[in-house]
Symmetry: C2
Subunit: 295 residues, 2 copies
């Protein structure tokens, strides 16, 4: 199968599934339900759920089993963007070229929409056919999501980010921040795919290495695009890192060395895929695509 | 066993368990971990986890199985208070006689502490020995928590509350708001206790009836205390409902009729406990204690 077709098929499948994860409002005031749907629907590349579905496939699992896990992860990613955009955090009015949730629905409802997505994510897993069939694996998925999205995971990354807003962080701090803030959920995505397919330790460990490398490369490219990118194709203003005086891979290494670093990590990610044999191609191509992306 | 001793024993057990649910910060910036611990530790009556433990006991279960579910519920209750106190919501500087989380730690860290407690709650269940022993029941607990705390549960109650801040709500709206905002988690507490003990449908249904009645009575007494209470013993300013022009059971029914209504609901709650025979006494006494409380 053509790989860009596969990517489109995956994102279509995910988008269709996500359209039905928010329950119908049963008490007549549906503003938070609408806000949850809005933010889920303006989702971008769907990299995390694509990783979950593809790792499920390369481990021999069935896409139906992986879908609720992929959706839960995307809901958690989306809640984190809503809360991150709030005035008390990054105060971003735009997200992917559209008004942020709090601009469209108001601060209080955006807060609750984020809470609703986070709360609902765990229910999507618990209420799935997968959980009925394999409750132990569903429990493992809940545990993984809770830990990688929690105070020592993604939220921890946001704490490091806030603490370093007005001081020059070194490369170690930056790398820890990215590992948690962006990396944790990317790693979680790959691991959830393996769990949905009941993969062995060797495959799980390869998935973790791959995800850690592309997660780090992803963040480096993000920093590069903040300097070299095109506002229109990014859907957000460029130069925001420089303006806020933050350390980034670009301020620490320069654009060229940062890109070299991202490329090296991508090579290492591709190498980790050997265990999947001929099935590795899509994931390999995805890694290089992300390293060369323009938005 | 003396019942007030039992209550103290339960709250001691819960408080000791809650002291260890927040993981140690593993990246050196522990402000959100501290904020989570702070808000959990200033918890008040622990009514919800007490209900979980006692329903587990009257259904013949073991307290060790109920504790992680009780703790998860209390973490979710605590996150909802942190987010509710934020300036964009109720803007309350005090909570139980202490500075609110955002006053003590700052707005952004309070937001993240709430997110961390909500995220962590599901992990406490998934990582428990109970989940290892009985993964299907753990999945059921996650599903229940997600739905009763979610957009059609507790969060929905907050939406109704916000939407009716500056208009006079009728008794039906008020009752729906309370059913979701306060009632959903109280019902969840009772149901989680039954789930931890693998109770039959008859007991589960009795627990639901009891919890719905005391949940409603609880809110009515809250409204009464906002008028007749003592600021010091409440730990918060009185008269805030009147000031905000909100409808309450007191503005709609008057203090006397509101108290009569709360008493009738309490009688009905006590009646629902018949199925538990002689074991019902603690829950019965608890219902009457809540209806006559002064804070």
């Amino acid at each position: 199968m053509n790989k860009s077709y596969m990517l489109k098929e995956y994102t279509d499948t995910i988008n269709a599934y996500l359209e039905n994860v928010i329950p119908v409002c049963d008490f007549g005031e549906d503003i938070v339900h609408e806000a949850m749907k809005y933010s889920l629907s303006i989702g971008g590349k769907r990299i995390r759920p694509v990783l979950t579905l593809e790792f499920c496939r390369v481990c021999g699992g069935s896409i139906e089993d992986a879908l609720p896990l992929a959706a839960a992860l995307e809901m958690i990613h989306t809640y984190s963007l809503i809360h991150d955009d709030l005035p008390c955090m990054d105060n971003d009015d735009m997200r992917r070229g559209m008004p942020s949730c709090h601009i469209k629905y108001g601060y209080e409802y955006a807060l609750l929409a984020g809470d609703g997505l986070l709360t609902g994510a765990f229910g999507i897993i618990a209420d799935s056919d997968f959980a009925k069939k394999n409750p132990s694996a569903a429990v493992k998925a809940v545990s993984l999501l809770s830990s990688l999205a929690g105070a020592n995971g993604m939220i921890g990354g946001q704490v490091i980010d806030l603490k370093n807003e007005n001081r020059k962080a070194g490369i170690e701090t930056l790398s820890k921040m990215d590992e948690l803030k962006t990396g944790a959920l990317i790693k979680c995505a790959a691991m959830l795919g393996c769990i949905s397919a009941d993969a062995d330790e060797e495959k799980l460990s390869a998935a973790v290495t791959y995800a850690e490398k592309i997660g780090q490369a992803f963040q480096i490219v993000d920093d590069i695009l903040d300097v070299t990118g095109d506002e229109k194709s990014l859907g957000k203003p460029i130069g925001s890192d420089k303006e806020s005086g933050k350390s980034t891979y670009v301020t620490l290494l320069g654009v060229e060395k940062a890109q070299e670093y991202a490329d090296r990590l991508t090579d290492e990610a591709a190498k980790a895929l050997e265990v999947f044999g001929a099935e590795k191609e899509f994931l390999k191509e995805l890694a290089y695509k992300l390293a060369k992306r323009e938005n």
